[in-house]
Symmetry: C2
Subunit: 193 residues, 2 copies
DNA sequence: TATGGGTTAGTGAATACTAACAAACACTGA
DNA sequence: TCAGTGTTTGTTAGTATTCACTAACCCATA
């Protein structure tokens, strides 16, 4: 878990919103300071440089997504477990739509080699967790076994990411919860033998 | 079809590569001119401003993806048709990996409201074409009908996009063709009743 | 009296873009 | 045949603006 002061968290949150609104090019020290209402140099009292702010963003993403994978009671039906996991993600996105611009657009950070590694880790970590869940579901007989868990995870993550990306691109102008529910119903039919 | 001079096409191609390598922040007039080997002001002999270059990139994307959707002989099995379409996409990505950084990362351009609209059009146009193909397949009995074509298109596009995005994030260090073939085999099992 | 968190004023570098000029070339009219 | 002319595509040298970041100072509070 990352430990940040209130001001640091505020800077990170505003940064996330800036990226969501204006893209990575909108993430400037001036924009951040203006959003918070302090001067530019004041930002440097809380972060050494801009790169550290981006690392802060990534670490928040890590915490955020990590929590939703605390797989909970593992004895429930796997499909229900998957639904709960994705629902938790969805709720978080609805509560903080700016997150969607970043969580599913890791490409934003890949220009800096310093940032490629943590992003790659985050991405494969999440997929591996999902693969583990699916594999357990296959053992338990909840999920079809004629496809590998890796392949199924690709389908689940991919379709969910695509839906959320569209939500962002469309300026959040459709009801994400409804669409996610529809997607989950579809995925259930696809995943259960 | 867009009509560009040789030099203009060269500028667009180098721009695509720059974005793939360094992200949107790496797309500067200086970088473009250096990549081509001419001076910065020479760029402005071929494009009025930077925005026009980005519009050029988008128009190339439109042509590129459009070609792969020329659905070909519509009388074949729909699954085979889908496979052909995705294969054509894949081949194009393998031939020009830089494209992947852009085609499936429309968020790159969304900072400028001028660019949001063409990107949105491109995206929904492609999905609508796929939906039409799937619907035809459902009528022909090639594809399961207990899920809507829209839902199935979400799964197909989403999983493919996710796979290609990972390929870019992983520095193209796995064999895309192999993975796409595996994905297509999986999708076939999922789509056929 | 030291520290944490703010300020104003400024740095050099990078940004998109412009002004003014020059060389290569095609096309004219005598 | 060939000077003259315009167009195309390049150049060098510059612009104003924005970028991340620093120096120096201030002031409330522990």
């Amino acid at each position: 878990m990352s430990e940040y002061t209130a001001r640091q968290n505020q800077i990170i949150q505003e940064s996330i919103q800036l990226i969501a609104q204006k893209g990575i090019q909108g993430l400037t020290i001036k924009n951040i300071s203006r959003a918070i209402g302090i001067s530019e140099p004041a930002i440097y009292r809380h972060f050494e440089n801009k790169n550290d702010i981006i690392l802060g963003i990534i670490s928040v993403l890590k915490d955020t997504t990590g929590e939703n994978f605390q797989s909970g009671s593992a004895d429930r039906n796997t499909i229900e477990l998957l639904k709960t996991m994705i629902h938790r993600h969805t709720e978080r996105f609805i509560a903080n739509p700016s997150l969607t611009a970043i969580v599913f657009a890791e490409e934003i950070f890949t220009n800096d080699s310093l940032l490629r590694e943590p992003i790659r880790n985050l991405m494969s970590m999440n997929q591996n967790k999902l693969i583990a869940v699916i594999e357990r579901g296959q053992s338990a007989g909840d999920i079809r076994t004629d496809l590998t868990a890796k392949q199924l995870s690709l389908v689940v993550i991919g379709s969910f990411r695509f839906l959320v990306s569209k939500w962002h691109l469309m300026d959040y102008n459709f009801d994400l919860k409804t669409e996610v529910d529809a997607l989950l119903a579809s995925l259930e039919k696809l995943l259960v033998e």
